[in-house]
C-alpha cells in the first residue's frame, strides 16, 4: 500500500516536472523538424524526419555567429571586469574598518535593486556624448550597472563566510595584508568567485534592454537583440530556425548546468535570500 502510494506520488511529481520542462522540450523538437512537418495537424510529438538543416542555415546564412561572438566577448569582458573589481571591493567591505563603509554597503544593496529603465536614459546620453555608442565596449560599461552591485553583494556574503582566524594567524606570522589576501583569502574564496562569475556571465548573456537601446548595428549586436531581430525582420517566420537559434543560444547555459551545478546552487543561497 505504501509502495503504491510512493509510485503514485512519483508519477504525479514527474508529470508536473515534465509539464514545466515541456516548452524546452518543444523547442528542441521543433528545431530538428523539417519546416513542412510543423504544419501537420495533429502535431507530431517526436519528429518523423530528423534534420539539422536549420542549424546549418543558422550558421551559414545568418548573422548568428557574429552575434554569438559578440555575446561571448561582451559577457566575458563584463565578467572579468566586474569580478576583479568586486573581489577587491568585497574584501574591503568585509574585512576593513573605515568611515562610510556601512553606507557603501547600503548603496550596493540599493543599486542591486534599482530598475534599469531609470539609468538607461542618462547612460544613453553619456555614451553618445563619449562617442562610444553602438560598440560592444558601451555595453560592457552599461552592464556593470547591474553586474557590479550583484557581484559585490554575492562576494560579500561569501567573504563573510571565511573565518577571520586564518587571516589573523597569517598576519601574526608576519604576512602583509595583501600577502594574506593572496595566500589565505583568495584560495578560500575561489568557489565563491567561480559561482559569482557564472552568475555574472549568465546575467550578461541574457541581458536585453541595454542591448536594445545602445546598439543598433549588426556588427556589434549581441545574441539577445540579434536573434529577436531575426523574428521581427523576417517576412514569414521560420519557427524551426528560431528554435534552433534558441537552442544554440542556450548551449553555454546547458554546459554550465551540466558541469557546474553545485556552484550555481551555492550562489543562489548567498544571493540575498539567505533567510
Amino acid at each position: 500500500m505504501a509502495h503504491l502510494r510512493k509510485i503514485l506520488f512519483n508519477l504525479m511529481a514527474w508529470s508536473i516536472v515534465l509539464a514545466v520542462a515541456f516548452p524546452l522540450f518543444w523547442m528542441l523538437v521543433t528545431s530538428v523538424k523539417p519546416q513542412f512537418e510543423l504544419f501537420r495537424r495533429p502535431p507530431t510529438i517526436l519528429p518523423e524526419t530528423w534534420t539539422f538543416e536549420h542549424y546549418w542555415t543558422l550558421l551559414a546564412d545568418t548573422n548568428f555567429l557574429v552575434y554569438f561572438r559578440n555575446s561571448v566577448i561582451l559577457s566575458s569582458a563584463t565578467t572579468l571586469l566586474v569580478v576583479a573589481v568586486a573581489t577587491l571591493g568585497a574584501y574591503s567591505l568585509v574585512r576593513f574598518k573605515y568611515r562610510g563603509r556601512e553606507s557603501l554597503a547600503f548603496l550596493v544593496l540599493f543599486t542591486y535593486l534599482l530598475p534599469s529603465v531609470v539609468l538607461i536614459i542618462p547612460l544613453y546620453l553619456l555614451l553618445v556624448q563619449l562617442g562610444v555608442s553602438n560598440t560592444i565596449f558601451s555595453l560592457v560599461i552599461a552592464y556593470t550597472t547591474f553586474a557590479l552591485p550583484y557581484a559585490l553583494w554575492l562576494l560579500r556574503s561569501f567573504m563573510a563566510g571565511i573565518p577571520e582566524d586564518l587571516e589573523s594567524a597569517a598576519l601574526c606570522d608576519g604576512a602583509t595584508r595583501m600577502g594574506a589576501f593572496r595566500d589565505i583569502i583568495l584560495p578560500q574564496l575561489l568557489p565563491g568567485i567561480i559561482s559569482t562569475a557564472l552568475f555574472t556571465f549568465i546575467l550578461s548573456w541574457n541581458e536585453y534592454l541595454y542591448a536594445l537601446v545602445l546598439v543598433n548595428s549588426d556588427s556589434s549586436r549581441p545574441l539577445t537583440t540579434g536573434v529577436m531581430n531575426m523574428l521581427i525582420s523576417s517576412f514569414n517566420i521560420e519557427w524551426s530556425l528560431l528554435m534552433a537559434a534558441s537552442v544554440m543560444m542556450s548551449v553555454p547555459l546547458i554546459i554550465v548546468f551540466a558541469f557546474l551545478q553545485s556552484y550555481l546552487t551555492r550562489g543562489f543561497g548567498a544571493g540575498g535570500v539567505k533567510g
Partner: protein
C-alpha cells in the same frame, strides 16, 4: 604600543579605502551620475533625435499625473506584479515541497525545474510565442482536442488573454527562484519538530500549517519582497511578448518609460516616469534593505 597599533589601524584603513576605490569610481560613473542625471533630466523637455531641450520645471510631473496613460500603466504594473508574484509563490512552495521528498532522479528533476529561470528571456519568449501560435501552436491544439475551446484562441492579441498569458509565462519563468530558496530553507528545518508534531497526532496538512509554514515565514518575506521588486521593474518579458499591447492593455511602467524615451522621443517626460516609478519601488526597497541589515548584513 598603543600608538603603533593605531598607526597600523590607520594604514589598514588606507589600504581598505584603496581596495574599494575602483568600486566607488565605477559606481559614481555608471550609477550615481546617471541616477542624479535622471532626476535632473525630468525637469526638461528633451527631443531624443537632437538631444536638445529646455527647462520646463515640474510640468512633466504635473502632466503625467493628469494623463490616463500613467495611471493605466500603474494599474497594469500592479495587476502583473500581484498576479505573477502570487502564482510564483504558491507554485514555488508546492514544487519545493514535492522536490523535498525523495522522488526518483531528484537532481535531474531539480535541474529541469531550474532551467526556465536561467534561460534568456528572449529564448523563453520565442518558445512561448511558438507555443501560443494561433494556427500551428501546440497550446491551441491541446485545448481544442481536450474540448476546452472550439476555435483557436488568440493568446497575446486580445484582452484579457494577453494579460493572463503574460502573467502565466512570468510565473513559469520566475517560480524556480522561489523553489530553490524555499528548498534550501526546508532542508534546514529540524526533523525533531515533525516528529513531535506526529506524536501529537498532527496529520500531513496540519504539520504543513503548524510546522513548515511558520518555519518558512522569514525566508518567504524576503523572497516576496525581492520578487515583488524584480517583477515590478520587469521589462524584457512583457515588452517581447506583447510590446504592451493590445493597444496599451499590458503596458507596464517600465514599458511606458521606454516608449516615451525611444518611440515618442521625449526623454524628459520619460525620466519623470522613471523617477516616479522608482519612488514607488523605494517603499519595497527600503523595507527589504532594512530587513537584510537587521539580520546582520548577510
Amino acid at each position: 604600543m598603543s600608538s603603533s597599533n593605531t598607526l597600523l589601524e590607520r594604514r589598514y584603513a588606507a589600504l581598505g579605502l584603496m581596495l574599494i576605490a575602483p568600486t566607488v569610481l565605477v559606481f559614481c560613473a555608471v550609477i550615481i551620475y546617471p541616477l542624479v542625471s535622471a532626476i535632473y533630466l525630468s525637469f526638461f523637455n528633451i527631443f531624443t533625435p537632437t538631444l536638445e531641450g529646455e527647462w520646463v520645471g515640474l510640468s512633466n510631473y504635473t502632466e503625467l499625473l493628469q494623463t490616463g496613460q500613467f495611471w493605466s500603466a500603474l494599474g497594469n504594473t500592479l495587476i502583473w506584479t500581484i498576479g505573477t508574484l502570487s502564482l510564483q509563490i504558491i507554485f514555488g512552495i508546492a514544487m519545493a515541497l514535492v522536490l523535498h521528498q525523495n522522488i526518483w532522479f531528484r537532481s535531474l528533476a531539480r535541474s529541469l525545474i531550474l532551467f526556465p529561470y536561467f534561460i534568456s528571456t528572449v529564448v523563453a519568449v520565442l518558445v512561448w510565442k511558438w507555443l501560443f501560435n494561433d494556427l500551428y501552436g501546440i497550446m491551441n491544439h491541446l485545448l481544442i482536442s481536450a474540448g476546452i475551446i472550439d476555435f483557436p484562441m488568440d493568446f497575446l492579441g486580445t484582452m484579457p488573454n494577453a494579460m493572463v498569458s503574460v502573467i502565466l509565462v512570468g510565473a513559469w519563468k520566475y517560480f524556480p527562484f522561489v523553489v530553490i530558496a524555499v528548498l534550501a530553507r526546508l532542508q534546514s528545518i529540524p526533523d525533531a519538530l515533525y516528529e513531535a508534531a506526529k506524536i501529537d497526532g498532527a496529520g500531513p496538512i496540519a504539520r504543513f500549517f503548524d510546522v513548515t509554514l511558520p518555519q518558512l515565514r522569514e525566508v518567504l518575506v524576503v523572497i516576496i519582497l525581492l520578487r515583488a521588486i524584480w517583477d515590478f521593474k520587469e521589462f524584457d518579458l512583457i515588452f517581447l511578448l506583447t510590446g504592451g499591447g493590445p493597444i496599451n492593455d499590458t503596458q507596464t511602467l517600465p514599458l511606458l518609460v521606454y516608449q516615451e524615451a525611444f518611440a515618442l522621443n521625449d526623454m524628459g517626460r520619460a525620466s519623470a516616469y522613471a523617477v516616479v516609478m522608482m519612488a514607488i519601488m523605494l517603499v519595497f526597497m527600503i523595507v527589504y534593505i532594512r530587513r537584510t541589515r537587521s539580520e546582520g548584513g548577510s
